[in-house]
Amino acid sequence: MRRVLGGLAVLVGLALAIALGACGDDGGEAKTTGDEAPGGPPVRIGTKNFTEQYILGELYKQALESKGFNVKLKDDIGSSEITHQAMAGGALDMYPEYVDLLLSEVANVRVRPREPAAAYRAAKAFEERDGFTLLAQTPFNDANALAVKPAFARRHGLRSIADLRRLRRVTLAAPPEFRSRFEGIVGLEERYGLNNLKHLLQKIPRQYARLDAGRVDTARVSTTDGQLQKGSYVLLSDPKRVFATNHVAPVISRKTLKTHGAKLSAAINAVSSLLTTAAMQRMNAAVDLDGRTPREVAAEFLRENRPQS
């Protein structure tokens, strides 16, 4: 009898254990963190869709974050036109822009001041009409240029863009917006009378590969491109100034500046002040040629240079 009762007790216990086990809910799910981190509302930084912009975006983002700001980086938006529209639509708080490009393509100013300082003032005045402003411009400038292979230059005796007119047909690798820009086919036709250009759409920086492969005669490049460091390409001179100097200045909404105060602009200007042409070329090369990520490169630069705001 005692054994029977003991057996029953074990059985009942087992049954209860299984029942309770089956009742228990499956484990908790991963918790998501809240999006309001310390540092106020996030500063939304946009970038256009090429390497230098990616690096600039990371530089500003990391510098601001190290000062305790909350930053959202919106990479790879598109051309200046699209990005500035996004800014105007309130989807962004700031993005790095090229001053002369801003004047010619966004403000539609075709006759641009020769002096960079004047161009900067004009661009800043334009932005301030729309509730934006420009922060300090960088030491480096990133002018557009047309590059050719040295052999090609030698063969056709090319020195300036005007020399291209001698060729019957010039194939050109450039991004899509190049077709409709003054700092593009519009200006080249207008100033140099180049109506022999055949435009091949090319996402930056694939134009170098095209050029190397001989698929195109010339390509639109930026003077800060890392590929230009080793003298593998010849830049054609631009005596009629289709391509402007193009220092970089962050376009920023004044509302954002008001929200975050002087500390924000100081941090951004401190980064901008460190960006020389050599530094920019080195960083572009690290990404485009060495295959490193913009984030690593920017972090390394900030580590080595320590912006003082």
């Binding site: 009762l5 918790k31 999006d35 598109g78 639509g89 991004p175 917006e177 996402k203």
Partner: protein
């Protein structure tokens, strides 16, 4: 020790088994409740997930509408193609809120919806709206951007894969809840059936156990009680158990012990009584018999004395001898009656169907002389047939009718004899118009040698009514008198009706009272 005792108690076992069965059933019940709850929960989850899927589909549809409208507008420049885009732009936020509410219980889905919302905001803010803006100022640039810039398409693809991940998790929710509900109901059914089978097994086992260890011992005790009741006082039951049944067995055994003890004592005192009774009877009959002889001798010598010396004193002699003779006759009558009284109620009754009318007839025949002498009128009513001893009953009627004639006053004696049934008995009455008696005397007259009158007024030894009382008692009846002094007496006595006096004619030796008890006992048994 106490623990051990408790465990062996039947009560403890019953409680333990009931608790175990209740726990089993309770477990099965818990499973059922869990299964039902879980199924209901699964149904709710499935419904909510379906709603979430529908809401997600609506939102995705809005996004696709925007992208398609955008494409059409940029390609054609037709403003009207923006109408569906604007409509979608006005509804998508509400759709997002609805989706967010529907996935609110799952943090992962919530996070996914938040990511999706961010993607949609990026798509709209960084692509769709800028492209629309650009198209209004520079349609050619917008067109080329749309064609060459993969950003917009990448954003749409990102959203699409986010939607797909959202849907997949909701669908897996539905499936897993259904699976869980199913497995739980399978558990519940299994446990319910198992529990039922176990309870059944416990019940059957318990029944067998009860039969073996409870019912059987109880039956043993019941059987032993029967044997004890039928007189086997040595009956005992095994009493080794430690539980309630052990207590019962021990109580039974001690009851049997004390019964046997009482019985032994009773038998002992009975034997003693019987022996002293027999001695007394022996003494009485020996004494009566032995007294007859000297009395006879005294009468003989008195006769001789009269014959030889009667002439010597003719004046006093015969009178003296007469005195001696009269006294001895009286002494012999006394001894005869004494013997009769001693024998009455002792001898074996020979019971038979007796017609009382005949018995009364015999008694009247025996009294014929006295009746004729007194000129008495005897009236006999209809009388029944009863089971009785004919000779003894005749003696009763003879004594009663004789008394009625003897104790008479001035007028002619009138005697009437009747009988009427009374609750299983026959009640007989012998009525006279004699001298009667005082109420306080009516008890005493049934005692031996109790006389109300002097020997000279009414001759007799005073033993007749005592003999009647003994005989009626021996038959299981009673006798009494109701009388008014100077008016007359009625003697009543009862006899059991024929059916009532059944089956105990073999045991006529004991006194009437013992017999009556035995009779009742036999009937109860």
């Amino acid at each position: 020790m106490l623990r051990h005792k408790l465990r062996t108690r039947i009560t403890a076992k019953v409680v333990a088994l009931s608790t175990a069965a209740a726990l089993l059933l309770g477990t099965a019940l818990v499973f059922l409740i869990v299964a039902v709850t879980s199924q209901r929960d699964a149904a709710r989850t499935a419904f909510r997930s379906q709603e979430a899927l529908a809401a997600g589909g609506q939102l995705e549809n809005s996004v696709i509408t925007i992208e398609n409208g955008l494409r059409g507008y940029v390609a054609s420049g037709l403003k009207r193609l923006l109408d569906p885009v604007n409509e979608a732009l006005s509804t998508y936020e509400a759709e997002q809120r609805r989706l967010q509410a529907l996935v609110a219980i799952d943090p992962v889905q919530q996070a996914r919806v938040r990511e999706l919302e961010e993607s949609i905001e990026d798509y709209l803010g960084l692509w769709a709206r800028p492209v629309i803006g650009l198209a209004s100022t520079d349609p050619a640039d917008a067109r080329s951007q749309f064609l060459s810039n993969p950003a917009g398409r990448a954003r749409v693809e990102t959203m699409r894969s986010q939607f797909d991940a959202l849907y997949a998790r909701e669908r897996s929710f539905i499936r897993s809840r259904e699976d869980r509900a199913e497995s739980r109901s399978a558990y519940a059914i299994g446990f319910g059936l198992g529990g039922l089978a176990l309870v059944l097994a416990v019940a059957v086992g318990f029944t067998l156990y009860l039969r073996r260890s409870v019912v059987q011992p109880v039956l043993t005790v019941a059987e032993a009680s029967g044997r004890l009741a039928s007189g086997q006082l040595s009956t005992r039951v095994p009493a080794a158990r430690e539980d309630e049944l052990g207590d019962l067995a021990r109580s039974f055994n001690s009851m049997a012990d004390s019964l046997q003890h009482s019985q032994d004592e009773l038998e002992l005192s009975n034997a003693e009584l019987k022996r002293s009774n027999e001695e007394l009877e022996q003494f009485a009959s020996v004494t009566s018999h032995d007294l007859q002889a000297p009395l006879t001798t005294i009468s003989m010598y008195a006769e001789l004395l009269e014959r030889r010396h009667g002439a010597e004193d003719p004046q006093d002699g015969p009178a003296l001898v007469d005195g001696i003779r009269h006294a001895t006759t009286q002494a012999r009558a006394l001894i005869r009656d004494l013997l009769e009284y001693a024998r009455a109620g002792r001898g074996r009754l020979s019971l038979e169907q007796v017609s009382i009318e005949r018995v009364v007839g015999q008694a009247l025949e025996a009294l014929a002389g006295a009746i004729e002498q007194s000129g008495a009128v005897v009236e006999v009513g209809p009388l029944p047939v009863v089971r009785a001893d004919r000779a003894n009953l005749c003696r009763v009627f003879q004594n009663l009718i004789g008394n009625a004639i003897k104790f008479t006053g001035e007028g002619t004696p009138e005697v009437s004899i009747d009988a009427k049934p009374d609750d299983g008995l026959w009640c007989f009455s012998v009525r006279d118009n004699g001298i009667g008696m005082a109420p306080e005397q009516s008890k005493r007259i049934f005692e031996p040698f109790q006389r109300l009158h002097g020997e000279d007024d009414y001759p007799g030894t005073g033993i007749g009514l005592a003999v009647c009382e003994r005989i009626i008692s021996q038959h299981g009846g009673t006798i009494w008198v109701s009388s008014v002094s100077g008016v007359g007496s009625v003697f009543h006595f009862t006899l059991p009706a024929v059916e009532a006096l059944r089956g105990d004619d073999r045991d006529a030796d004991g006194d009437s009272e013992t017999r009556a008890h035995a009779g009742r006992g036999a009937e109860l048994r």
